[in-house]
Subunit: 135 residues, 2 copies
Amino acid sequence: MEITRETDYAIRCVLHLSEAPNDVIMVDEIAKAKSIPKSFLSKILQKLAKANIVKSYRGVKGGFQIAKAPREINLLDVIDAIEGPVAMNRCAVNKKFCSLSSNCTVHPVWVELRKDVEKKLKKIDFARLIVSKKQ
Amino acid sequence: MEITRETDYAIRCVLHLSEAPNDVIMVDEIAKAKSIPKSFLSKILQKLAKANIVKSYRGVKGGFQIAKAPREINLLDVIDAIEGPVAMNRCAVNKKFCSLSSNCTVHPVWVELRKDVEKKLKKIDFARLIVSKKQ
DNA sequence: AAAAACTTGACAAATTTTTTTAAAATAGGA
DNA sequence: TCCTATTTTAAAAAAATTTGTCAAGTTTTT
């Protein structure tokens, strides 16, 4: 029941960009600052760009920049961008995965737990994560 | 952020055994009843046995039986037995995995979320899961 | 035109999950 | 007691997923 390495990297990356919202930063710099394999990070940034969390600029002087105010981005946004919908069990997203379907008494537990976790993750925005760093 | 297939199987299995606490049931029967690959289930049952959630009997007339009252076993017990300590991020269990260690502002979020999820899972015992089935 | 930097897709390595196979143990009967 | 069918146990193999790499292509600035 863990987030993946990829998601962890994505969060670090958004954190880095959030700390300098006005700067366009190269993949290489983020990779070094946050100890993330560069080519893997490139891919992650693509997903974040598609989710409109970061903007990309190509060519010389290119790089990535946060696409909106850090307080407008929360942990759930990033996790969703990378992993897709959060679920504890695949059947909590799509019931066809639940071979026992209708009479599965555990199913509702996953659904509720999922809602709970989502609610919590939505509360943590990146402005807050930066602030707590400065303390 | 999902539980594994293995954990899902383990829960179904404990559920099956909880429904007949006085019976010793063969792997094969559980496997068929709950749509779990038989040999994979064997492995899962070993882990459950080590965690003292089920008892095993070998030889002819052998099989598995629930080791304590269903109300004494909760979802967290089973997940812990299979996956080890629940964490959202590996660094929430052991800080040495967190390359950014001391100044990682996300770390406390995982720790708290973990506590939350554990608390919820601990509340769901198998007596309850059976009851809701009968309704 | 050349250099710098992102984009994309294919591929490879590592890890985890699932399945298969062979070994060990036991109840029960000859 | 000893054999055998039955069942668990354990190790190994296969499949799937995750993580990481690389190279060719595209865009932008100088």
